[in-house]
């Protein structure tokens, strides 16, 4: 009961945020937080819940982004109309990568996903129809409202918010259904899960495909907002790492973990970019590296988990002694 009151309060704050903070910078910042929260929440399904750490999620992000720009460039579609195309391509690619690599344990799966992402970047850089190294642009002037090309960040903010709520709703449903339980079991102990009839390979693949499809939506939204995509922004390894760190920092495997991570990291990056200008681009990598080390050393389950544990330990819990007595 109390939890839902808190959630409603936070939701209300998120809804009125761009009306309270009306400067273009802060509105755009808010929209970016939501956009990356979508991508990180999508990653969370396979990386957090199923514990299969994909470091190549930018492939799916790129799929969505490139689908929207390519279909606009070649066929004149409104960028957002390419969402189903991007999703289908992403789910297909996820199946192709997942079937052979999800058998690999831990780090090997991560490495395989990096390899595929870098391969995709190199291929796209050389494909003329996808703009090669130069990239593709969206509509210069909006032809209709369906092009979703706005100067203000406000419409994007609410569009992203709706999509994020949908993604979180789907994740919440998953968390509380059989597949969610199975994914957590696989993450904890795959051998034990299999002994209980869990078809581990199949469930990991489902999670990967679902995650890929949703990540692709984030890519399409990104391209729609920026109106431009090139191999670095659409398929660069940095975006993969960014998505992963946001989820891990906030709390991988927790519903709101990625949102918390995005709300911390996106402002950090935007502000440092503003302060340092173009010269600071390399610094982002340094900061990410430092964050990875800090998470791994001090908060392996993420910040949100830390806060939740603090709150839980404040309540009178079952004492350790009682647990031992009964067990």
């Amino acid at each position: 009961m109390k939890r839902s009151v808190w959630l409603l309060l936070i939701l209300a704050l998120v809804v009125v945020y761009p009306l309270l903070f009306t400067t273009p910078f802060l509105q755009r910042l808010g929209a970016l937080v939501l956009l990356y929260a979508i991508a990180a929440s999508a990653w969370n399904i396979v990386g957090g819940y199923a514990g299969q750490v994909s470091v190549g999620h930018v492939v799916f992000f790129g799929c969505g982004a490139y689908a929207s720009m390519a279909f606009f460039t070649h066929f004149g579609w409104p960028p957002i109309a390419a969402v189903p195309v991007g999703m289908m391509a992403s789910v297909g690619i996820a199946a192709l990568i997942g079937v052979p690599t999800l058998r690999l344990s831990g780090h090997y799966f991560s490495m395989a996903t990096i390899a595929v992402a870098e391969l995709a970047r190199l291929i796209v850089t050389n494909v003329e129809a996808l703009g090669a190294a130069v990239g593709l642009s969206g509509p210069v002037m909006p032809r209709s409202v369906f092009d979703l090309s706005f100067t203000s960040a406000l419409p994007y903010y609410y569009l992203f918010l709706v999509v994020l709520l949908a993604v979180l709703g789907l994740t919440y449903w998953m968390e509380n259904s059989r597949i969610g339980f199975y994914l957590r079991a696989i993450k904890d102990n795959e051998r034990a899960a299999r002994s209980l009839g869990v078809q581990a390979g199949r469930y990991k693949l489902y999670a990967y495909m679902m995650s890929a499809g949703l990540t692709s939506i984030a890519g399409t939204l990104y391209a729609t907002m920026y109106g431009f995509i090139d191999p670095d922004s659409g398929l660069g390894i940095l975006t993969s790492v960014k998505i992963l760190i946001m989820a891990a920092l906030g709390g991988a495997g927790l519903l709101f973990g990625p949102l918390v991570g995005a709300a911390i990291l996106v402002p950090l990056e935007e502000i440092s970019n503003n302060l340092l200008g173009g010269k600071g681009a390399g610094l982002t990598f340094v900061v990410y590296g430092a964050i990875i080390m800090i998470i791994a050393r001090f908060y392996p389950s993420g910040l949100l988990k830390l806060v939740l544990d603090r709150l839980a330990s404040a309540k009178p819990a079952l004492s350790e002694q009682k647990v031992r007595d009964v067990a």
Partner: protein, 250 residues
């Protein structure tokens, strides 16, 4: 026959760990597998569960050849197991651990939850159902594994040293639990080091030594078998046994 193993052999390279072992179990039977460390009983056990595929021979479950099936396929067909070193889902609660098992037969979380609570009641863990599994000690974990396996609604339960690492009192409680489970009509295969456990539970015992089955029969027959005494206690003890001094050694 509910479960049959026919000439099951498992080799790792040149090493034959299980050499042509056959068993058959009817509904409600309890089979004990004993033998010194490295005798091959765990390997044979894992061939039954699907964690290992036999090099040759067949495993028949309910009339179906499952020799080449994965553990998850065998679980669906009614086979459940526990692990020698407990493999609980450490970050999940006790209740959630058991729900994973219950989900094998239902999609509905509410039904899985009810089933899990029933099983937790049976094994005596219902009071700690909301604790994290990682907070349990060894006896609790072993019970949790049995509960989890039972929640899959199996026809046959295979316990891999379910009593190892328990104190004498805990062993007695665990034996009581296994009896209780058997009374529900469950068929059981038990791998065990502790003689007391096997003697008080199993109707049929197979003794392993260096990959071979060296004896088979009721616990009483097996413990008097000279080959078994030799394998366990050495040749001199076997000679003593033959002269009738075996009473205090077995």
């Amino acid at each position: 026959m509910l479960l049959e193993a026919i000439d099951v052999t498992k080799t790792f390279g040149a090493l034959t760990v299980v050499n042509s072992v056959s068993v058959s179990l009817g509904k409600g039977d309890i089979l004990g597998l004993i033998g010194p460390n490295g005798a091959g009983k765990s390997t044979f056990f894992n061939c039954l569960t699907g964690d290992l595929m036999p090099t040759s021979g067949r495993v028949i479950l309910n009339g179906e050849d499952v020799s080449l099936m994965t553990p998850e396929q065998r679980a669906v067909r009614g086979l459940a197991r526990s692990f020698q070193v407990p493999q609980t889902f450490e970050t999940m609660s006790v209740l959630e651990n058991v729900m994973i098992g219950a989900f094998l037969r239902t999609f509905d979380p509410a039904k899985a939850r009810r089933r899990a609570l029933d099983v937790l009641d049976l094994v005596g863990l219902v009071d700690v159902s909301s604790s994290v599994a990682g907070s349990l000690g060894t006896p609790g974990r072993k019970r949790l594994e049995i509960a989890r396996a039972l929640a899959t609604d199996p026809e046959i339960l295979l316990l891999d040293e379910a009593m190892a690492g328990l104190t004498a009192t805990e062993v007695r409680q665990a034996i009581e639990l296994v009896r209780k489970i058997h009374q529900t009509g469950m068929t059981l295969v038990i791998v065990e080091h502790i003689m007391e456990v096997i003697i008080s539970l199993a109707q049929q015992v197979i003794v392993f030594h260096q990959g071979h089955q060296i004896a088979r029969g009721t616990p009483q027959e097996v413990t008097r078998d000279p080959a078994v005494v030799t394998a366990y206690l050495g040749k001199r003890a076997a000679a003593d046994a033959a002269r009738g001094f075996a009473g205090d050694q077995t």
